[in-house]
Amino acid sequence: MRPITARRRHPAAGYAVVLLGLMLAGLSYAAITDGSASATAHSVTGQAQISEGRTIFLQECSSCHGLYAQGTPGVAPSLIGVGAAAVDFQVSTGRMPAKEPVAEQPRKPVALKPQQIHALAAYIASLGGGPPIPSSADVSQVGANAGVGQQLFVADCAQCHNFVGAGGALTYGKYAPPLTKSTPRQIFEAMLTGPEAMPVFNNTTITPQQKRDIIAYVTQTRAEPNPGGFSLGRVGPVTEGLVTFLGLLLFMVLAALWITAKHGKAHD
C-alpha cells in the first residue's frame, strides 16, 4: 500500500486536506492576476505611416472591425471617427487586438510595437477625425493638483472605479477595470474617448488641466501605504477585517475539532 493511502485515516489528514485546498486556491488566484504593459512615443502623421497602419489594420483588426473599419454588428464597433486616442488606448493597454469577443476586454501584454500603434492610430484618424493622442505636455504631472483631482474623481469616476481606482463590477460581465497599472496617457485617453461602457469626458466638460489633476490623484493614491500589510483592493479596513474574521473562524473550527476529537484521549 502506498504511504499516502496508508495515512489517509491519520487524525491530521483532515486538517492537511483543508490547508492544501486553501493554499491551492490562493496560489491559483495569484497566478491569474498578473501582467503589465505600456507604450508611448511621438505622434507623427504622413502618408507612409497611414499606409503602414492600413497594412497592420488588415492583418490584426479587419477580421472583426471589417476591411474598411466599418464594424460588424453585434461583434465589433465601427472605428470611423473614434480617433487616434481611442486606438492608442485600446492597443497600448493590450485590450486590442482582442483574443475573443467577451463582455469586457481585459488588460494584457501589448501585441504591437509603439511605432506600429502610432501608424495604426494615424490610419484610423485618417478615416474621420476624432481626438488625437495626447502629447507629453497634455499628461505632464508638473503642477497637477491631486486635491482638485480627488474632488472630480469622487464626483464622476469613483462610482464605477472605486474611490482609490481599484475597479468594480458592472452588468452582464462588464466591469470597470482597476486603474493600478494605467499610465497617465492611458487615463487621459480613457476619459477623452470613453472606451467600452465608460462615459465620455471631453476636454470642454473636464478640461485638460482637470484631467491632469485626476491623473495626479489616481497615480499618487497608489503610493499610499497599506497599514494592514495587504492592499485587498484598497477598499479599506472592512475587507481586511472580514478576511481576518474568516481566517480566524476557520482556525476556531479546526481548534474545536481538535479539542473534541476522540483520538488520543487519556482514558477511553
Binding site: Q151, V154, L170, T171, K174, A197, P199, N202, T205
Partner: protein, 384 residues
C-alpha cells in the same frame, strides 16, 4: 511542621500527596480521619459542611448527604508513558506562555511610540507576544485536559427547589420584622415622598424622546432646485454650456449653483446629466412612465436625480453603450433613454427627471424643482 492541620505527617499513607489523595484514602478503606486533616488543593472551595450554617445530619440519615460512594474517577491515566510525554508538552506550552508574557513586558519597554511607524511596530510586538501567550496557555490546558485528566460521565441528582416550611416561615417573620424596624410602614410621609421622588426620574427618558423630532413636514417633498438655478459641474464647480457638454456618451455629476458645499442640500439635490446621440431618447410631451419629457431636455441632454429611489444611494454607474444607470448598493438598474424607468433591482420608481433649459448666457439651468419627491419612499409620500 508547626501547623498541625497542614496535612499528612511523614510516614502517612500518602506517597504522592496529589490531587486524588482523598479519594484514594476513601477507596482504600482508611477514610476515617477527620475532615480538618484532609488535603485541600489550592484554589478549590472548602468541603460543603465547613461552609454550611445548618447542622448536617450524618451521612445516610434522611435529609443528609448520601453515603460516600466508591471512587468515580481513576487515579492515573491508563498509559503512563503517553502521560509522561503529554506532561512534557504541557509544561513546554506553559513555558512558552511564560516567555511570551515576559516578551510582552519587554516589547512594551523596548518599542517607544513617538511616531506612526513606531506605533505599528509596538502594536505588532505587543499583539503577537500577547497572542502567543494566550494561545500557548490554551493549547497547554487543552492537552492537559485531553491527555492527563480522566474523561468520565457523572450524574448529579436534582434536588427540590422549594424551601422547607420552617425556612419559609422564618423568612416571612424576618421580612416583617425588618419592614417594621425600618419604619417604612409606620411613617407614611417618608414612604409617599419616596414614591413621589421616583416618578419624575421614570418619566425623564420619555421626555428625551422629543429630541427625535421635529417632524420633517414637507421638507422631503422638494429640493433646493429653483427656476433659473445653474447646473454646476461638481468638483470643478463651473457652469455648463450644452455646446461644451457635446460628446454623446458623456455623463457628469452636477449640483445646484450656491449649494455646492451644502451637503444637507446635496443629499437630495445631486443630479447627473447625460448627453445622448440624436434619435436615441424616447420622448414624450408630458410626464409619463418610460418616457423623457422633451421640453425638459436641451440638445439631447437629460438630467436625472442621482439619488436612488430604493434607499437613496448615489445611482451614477452609467454605461453609455447600454444607457443603463446602475445603483452600486443593490444593483437597481434604470434605463436613461426611457425616463430612467426601473429595468432591474429593488427600486420601484424611476429616477425623477430635472426640468432643464438654458439661460440668457447659454448655460444649463433648472426650469423648476422636481415635480415629485426624490430619493427613497417615506410614509407621508403615499403609494407609487
Amino acid at each position: 511542621m508547626t501547623d498541625s492541620t497542614a496535612g499528612p505527617q511523614p510516614g502517612d499513607n500518602e506517597p504522592t500527596g496529589d490531587l486524588f489523595s482523598d479519594l484514594s484514602a476513601h477507596a482504600s478503606g482508611a477514610g476515617d480521619e477527620p475532615a480538618e486533616t484532609r488535603h485541600r488543593v489550592i484554589g478549590t472551595p472548602p468541603p460543603a459542611e465547613a461552609r454550611s450554617l445548618l447542622k448536617t445530619p450524618p451521612p445516610g440519615a434522611p435529609g443528609g448527604p448520601p453515603v460516600p460512594r466508591q471512587r468515580e474517577l481513576p487515579a492515573d491515566p491508563d498509559d503512563p508513558v503517553s502521560a509522561k510525554r503529554a506532561e512534557r508538552v504541557v509544561v513546554a506550552c506553559f513555558l512558552i506562555a511564560t516567555l511570551a508574557g515576559l516578551g510582552f513586558i519587554a516589547a512594551y519597554l523596548i518599542f517607544q511610540v513617538h511616531s506612526v511607524t513606531n506605533v505599528l511596530h509596538s502594536n505588532l510586538a505587543l499583539g503577537s507576544t500577547m497572542g502567543l501567550a494566550f494561545l500557548a496557555l490554551a493549547v497547554g490546558a487543552v492537552i492537559w485536559v485531553r491527555r492527563l485528566m480522566p474523561t468520565v460521565e457523572l450524574t448529579e441528582l436534582r434536588k427540590p427547589l422549594r424551601s422547607s416550611p420552617e425556612d419559609r416561615a422564618a423568612f416571612a417573620e424576618t421580612f416583617e420584622e425588618g419592614a417594621e424596624a425600618s419604619q417604612f410602614t409606620k411613617r407614611p410621609m417618608v414612604r409617599r415622598a419616596l414614591i413621589a421622588a421616583t416618578v419624575p426620574v421614570a418619566l425623564a427618558p420619555i421626555v428625551l424622546l422629543r429630541d427625535l423630532g421635529p417632524l420633517p413636514g414637507t421638507k422631503l417633498d422638494h429640493t433646493v432646485w429653483r427656476k433659473g438655478m445653474r447646473l454646476l459641474n461638481y468638483g470643478a464647480n463651473t457652469p455648463i454650456r450644452p455646446a461644451d457638454f457635446s460628446s454623446p456618451g458623456g455623463m457628469i455629476t452636477v449640483v445646484p449653483d450656491g449649494f455646492q458645499d451644502d451637503f444637507n442640500a446635496l443629499a437630495k439635490a445631486a443630479v447627473i446629466i447625460i448627453k445622448f446621440a440624436p434619435n436615441v431618447i424616447e420622448f414624450s410631451a408630458r410626464p409619463e412612465p418610460g418616457k423623457v419629457v422633451q421640453n425638459w431636455t436641451v440638445d439631447n441632454i437629460v438630467a436625472y436625480s442621482k439619488i436612488c429611489t430604493h434607499v437613496g444611494c448615489p445611482a451614477a454607474l452609467y454605461e453609455h453603450t447600454t444607457h443603463h444607470i446602475l445603483c452600486p448598493c443593490h444593483q437597481s438598474t434604470f434605463d436613461a433613454a426611457r425616463g430612467a424607468q426601473v429595468i432591474f433591482g429593488p427600486a420601484t420608481r424611476a429616477l425623477p427627471q430635472l426640468p432643464m433649459t438654458v439661460d440668457a448666457q447659454g448655460y444649463l439651468v433648472a426650469r423648476h424643482d422636481f415635480i415629485e419627491p426624490v430619493g427613497p419612499s417615506f410614509w407621508e409620500r403615499g403609494p407609487s
